[in-house]
């Protein structure tokens, strides 16, 4: 704890102005009477503490990190270095257009690139993450129905396999979320869909490839059914990495999509964020896109705001969203270029199918063995859990001991004892092979010395944590050295 290095009166003196004045023109009762308890440490103590803390993390830069649905691929360092050029870091968000042409050029071109690669009609970059993109997308669907005074539409359909943000976003937009079951083959249950569709249907939210790691083959049919019912189709772009440059949501019939630039466009995940969740729309929804957007008249770039776009659902953040993330995505897109885009989907799909095959050969069960994997796939450890009493969580924790981050566990909810594995295109074959070896070893351990696995991890800074106690005896802030 940084507070444990704290000592009254100590500070990193070079960091504050040399002198301090009292703001005597501010009434005393408005001023603070005691200093807030922040750490009191030297610069070196801070640097040492946080450097050592960092070393306790698994990360892409240090470990294989096949966290399904999250696309933990390599983040080119150039994106950070170049996005941190002094001229970019010092630009005030309200700087006039005369002092913003370089920045706006990047954003405008990014809008164009994303439009092209998704096959949508227009793009707004402003949502701060996937979930905010979902919110914006569903809000646009709502704005569309509202504009047509089609006010009976109260439901958004989501597959049972959907990510939690999908139903939550629907609710944030005032809709009811209604679940559609997934069929045994991993595709949506079309009959159930048909039953669910009706005049109350505002739209459906889909991921394709879906969260179970397979391509929804009847997407065209689904699009027709939903459209016929008067609903719109929302595309959750979390899995765009799988199809980049191969097939486009716009061509599948989606009306609105979000992209997770921190996944597909390789901006860093930053220990939880920031991300960016631009939204793209077909022509129908174009008037509703959130502002601001960037426009170009052939010579100058300018902001499009509420004034230019009166039907916009509005603004999602005080300025223009996570600008620095957008710049990183733009740099990534320029590095990759046209040819690079489909290499992403090809190699991520190749890696996933290779890894799946090898794991199946090693005795693991695929949740959808008959299906082609997309850029990720699901294993189910039902057998191991039942026969050996070693469950998915145990495997996950034991993987940490072998120096790889665990795949996503227990999501999607419909597959029991599941591991959602996404190797990404930036891992080498050797690393995939290494993962297979580790999984094989853990399986043997589960058979021969199950306790080793069930009590894993053994080599991390802490062993398994007491989550129940964390939630029951809430300790959410340091109270002082007791």
């Amino acid at each position: 704890m940084i507070y444990e290095h704290s000592r009254e009166g100590r500070r990193a003196t070079a960091q504050a102005p040399l002198e301090t004045t009292e703001a005597t023109d501010i009434p005393a009762e408005m001023r603070r009477s005691t200093q807030p308890r922040l750490p009191q440490v030297s610069e070196m103590q801070a640097v040492r503490h946080f450097t050592r803390l960092s070393q306790k993390n698994f990360s892409i830069d240090t470990q294989f990190y096949p966290l399904g649905s999250c696309t933990m691929k390599y983040n080119p360092r150039a994106c950070n270095t170049l996005a941190s050029l002094p001229g970019l870091l010092s630009r005030h968000p309200l700087a006039p257009d005369t002092h913003s042409q370089g920045f706006m050029a990047c954003l405008y071109e990014l809008q164009e690139i994303l439009q092209t690669v998704t096959g949508m009609y227009a793009v707004s970059l402003t949502p701060a993450a996937g979930a905010q993109g979902e919110f914006a997308g569903v809000a646009m669907i709502r704005a569309y129905h509202d504009a047509r005074e089609d006010s009976a539409r109260s439901e958004i359909l989501v597959p049972d396999a959907a990510h939690g943000t999908n139903p939550a976003s629907a609710v944030m937009c005032g809709y009811k979320a209604r679940e559609i079951p997934t069929g045994a083959d991993g595709d949506i249950d079309i009959e159930a869909l048909k039953t669910a569709l009706g005049p109350q249907t505002a739209g459906i939210m889909l991921t394709n490839p879906s969260t179970v790691g397979v391509f929804e083959r009847r997407i065209k049919e689904i699009a027709e059914l939903v459209h016929a019912a008067g609903g719109l189709l929302y595309y959750d772009g979390a899995n765009l990495n799988a199809i980049l440059g191969k097939v486009r949501p716009g061509d599948m019939g989606f009306d609105v999509i979000h992209m997770n630039l921190h996944k597909t466009f390789s901006t860093p995940h930053g220990g939880g964020g920031p991300g960016a969740g631009p939204v793209g729309v077909g022509k129908r929804l174009e008037p509703y896109l959130p502002v601001p957007m960037v426009d170009f008249d052939g010579s100058d770039y300018r902001w499009l705001t509420e004034e230019d776009r009166p039907d916009s659902i509005g603004r999602l953040s005080a300025f223009a969203g996570n600008a620095g993330v957008l710049i990183r995505a733009y740099i990534y897109a320029r590095l990759l270029g046209r040819e690079g885009m489909h290499r992403v989907s090809e190699f991520s799909t190749l890696n996933a199918n290779y890894l799946l095959k090898r794991l199946m050969d090693a005795g693991f069960d695929a949740a959808y063995p008959e299906r082609r994997a997309s850029h990720e796939f699901i294993l189910t450890l039902k057998k191991q859990a039942k026969e050996l009493g070693v469950n998915t969580m145990d495997f996950a924790k034991r993987l940490l001991d072998y120096g790889v981050h665990a795949p996503t566990t227990y999501f999607p909810l419909l597959v029991s004892e599941c591991l959602l594995v996404e190797p990404t295109e930036t891992e080498a074959k050797e690393d995939l092979d290494n993962f297979v070896e580790i999984m094989r070893t853990i399986k043997q351990e589960a058979e021969n010395q199950p306790e080793t696995v069930k009590q894993a991890p053994h080599t991390m800074p802490v062993r398994r944590l007491d989550d129940v106690r964390a939630a029951r005896e809430l300790d959410l802030a340091w109270k002082g050295s007791e």
């Binding site: 501010i26 009477s33 922040l38 933990m72 370089g102 979930a131 005032g174 964020g273 996570n322 270029g337």
Partner: protein, 452 residues
């Protein structure tokens, strides 16, 4: 690898995708460039935007950030990790977030902090929704929102909450003081509102009478939602101590705590509350606990509030948050300490005072509101604000934020800000240029005193 899979060609891996849907070469996307060419491009783009001398605040502030902050924050282990789902392999991030929560609750004077929301404006929207859910005394979905709050925040809140049928009722401001108009407020005293939003400082830089407002809200069964500049909290009474009981929820823009201006983002929204409201809080929360050996460790907690567990019943849809910015803020607060933040706040306050003095010495330039400010001030110009700003920008000075769009009733008013990074030369630079701009634009002496 193809052989292992049992296919002849990589295309075969896409065989479940209907052929009709496949796209061809995407000609509109430019070809790939090596890093050296992208570097050149970005350097040129960064260069043409210049590095003007900035006196704009209006929600984003140019403060010194210790070099160590971003050198540490961009270490691969922080930069390329994700949400700490595997706690044992993420103790770095988790402990840091716990330390962040500890610092924020200390700064704001409240019990609980989450681990970030997207930005200040969307944090307020979440605070509003949280208040609607959390106010046991009110059944209303109505919120009192002052016009002295940042206009963009008001817009964002509207965008986000309107679909849930939350009604935002605006309260005016006093034309002399720039403060929430108490008379206007009193009109709503008898009605059922879930919460009153109280900015400190408000958008005009002016310090609201937060104690009275908080008590007023509580008296009328409303929750008090504070929207504060966290740097100001190093100097001003923290939201948790406002009035008799303190504000219930406090949110705001974390940018002044270590995020560069960077065109508006990524920043981060912070959100604190009383302990009572913790189960209504959106976003990640980290708790301290022990491992099976009794050793201290940190983990995501109260996950039942979140979308990945609770789905449509979650407190919010937020998933990816602004973790890296919080990493920077935690290191920033550690390096600055309370004393350092207080000095920065005081220096920014003092500089804005100096700027006000320098500019109001010019003929026709005058402060619009009386009363104490934090580090921003509204000034009225004797010429068109918009034109003045453009002329100044042509000389590489960004002279402030033009209020005439959002507050036309204020006339040619600018919101100016001078943080601790602006020194006396900078202020004199601005003053001198504004003097010339005014001289060149004021045609006839009679217009020196405008007719508002």
């Amino acid at each position: 690898m193809l052989a292992t899979i049992g296919v002849g060609h990589i295309d075969a891996l896409f065989d479940e995708i209907p052929m009709a849907l496949r796209c061809g070469e995407l000609e509109a996307i430019p070809p790939g460039m090596p890093e050296m060419e992208v570097s050149r491009l970005m350097q040129a783009r960064a260069r043409i935007d210049g590095q003007p001398l900035c006196f704009i605040g209006a929600g984003a502030y140019d403060h010194h950030i210790p070099a160590a902050v971003w050198e540490l924050t961009t270490r691969g282990e922080f930069y390329t990790a994700y949400t700490p789902y595997q706690a044992e392999a993420s103790q770095g991030t988790l402990q840091l977030l716990y330390e962040y929560q500890s610092m924020m609750t200390a700064l704001i004077g409240m019990d609980v902090s989450n681990a970030s929301l997207y930005d200040g404006a969307s944090a307020l929207a979440e605070a509003v929704l949280m208040a609607v859910r959390g106010n046991r005394k009110s059944k209303s979905k109505r919120i009192l929102l002052p016009r002295s709050l940042h206009p963009a925040y008001r817009r964002v809140v509207r965008t986000i909450v309107r679909n849930q049928r939350v009604e935002l009722v605006e309260v005016g401001y006093d034309g002399n003081t720039g403060l929430i108009d108490r008379e206007d407020l009193e009109k709503h005293g008898g009605e059922d509102f879930a919460a009153l939003v109280i900015p400190q400082p408000n958008f005009f830089g002016v310090l609201e009478a937060v104690d009275g407002l908080t008590d007023w809200a509580h008296l009328h069964g409303m929750l008090a939602i504070a929207v504060v500049n966290p740097l100001a909290m190093a100097m001003l009474k923290p939201a948790g101590e406002w009035g008799e009981q303190g504000a219930d929820i406090c949110c705001g823009e974390g940018q002044p705590l270590g995020a560069p201006l960077a065109s508006g983002g990524p920043y981060f929204g912070f959100l604190c509350s009383t302990g009572k409201l913790v189960r209504q809080m959106p976003g990640r929360i980290i708790g301290k606990t022990v491992d099976v050996d009794g050793k201290t460790g940190y983990a995501l907690t109260l996950q039942a509030r979140e979308q990945h567990i609770r789905r449509s019943k979650a407190t919010s849809n937020i998933c990816t948050n602004q973790g890296l910015m919080v990493t920077a803020a935690t290191i920033h607060m550690t390096l600055m300490g309370a004393e350092g933040l207080q000095r920065v706040a005081a220096a920014s306050h003092a500089n804005t005072g100096k700027l006000t003095q320098a500019l109001t010495a010019l003929p026709g330039v005058e402060p619009v509101f009386e009363g104490a400010v934090f580090h921003e001030r509204v000034l009225r110009l004797p010429i068109e604000a918009n034109k003045a700003l453009r002329a100044l920008a042509a000389h590489n000075v960004l002279g402030g934020f033009d209020l005439s769009v959002d507050y036309p009733e204020l006339g040619d008013a600018l919101l100016v800000c001078a943080t601790e990074l602006r020194n006396e030369d900078d202020i004199e630079n601005y003053r001198g240029k504004l003097e010339r701009v005014i001289q060149s634009q004021v045609q006839t002496p009679c217009r020196l005193k405008p007719d508002w």
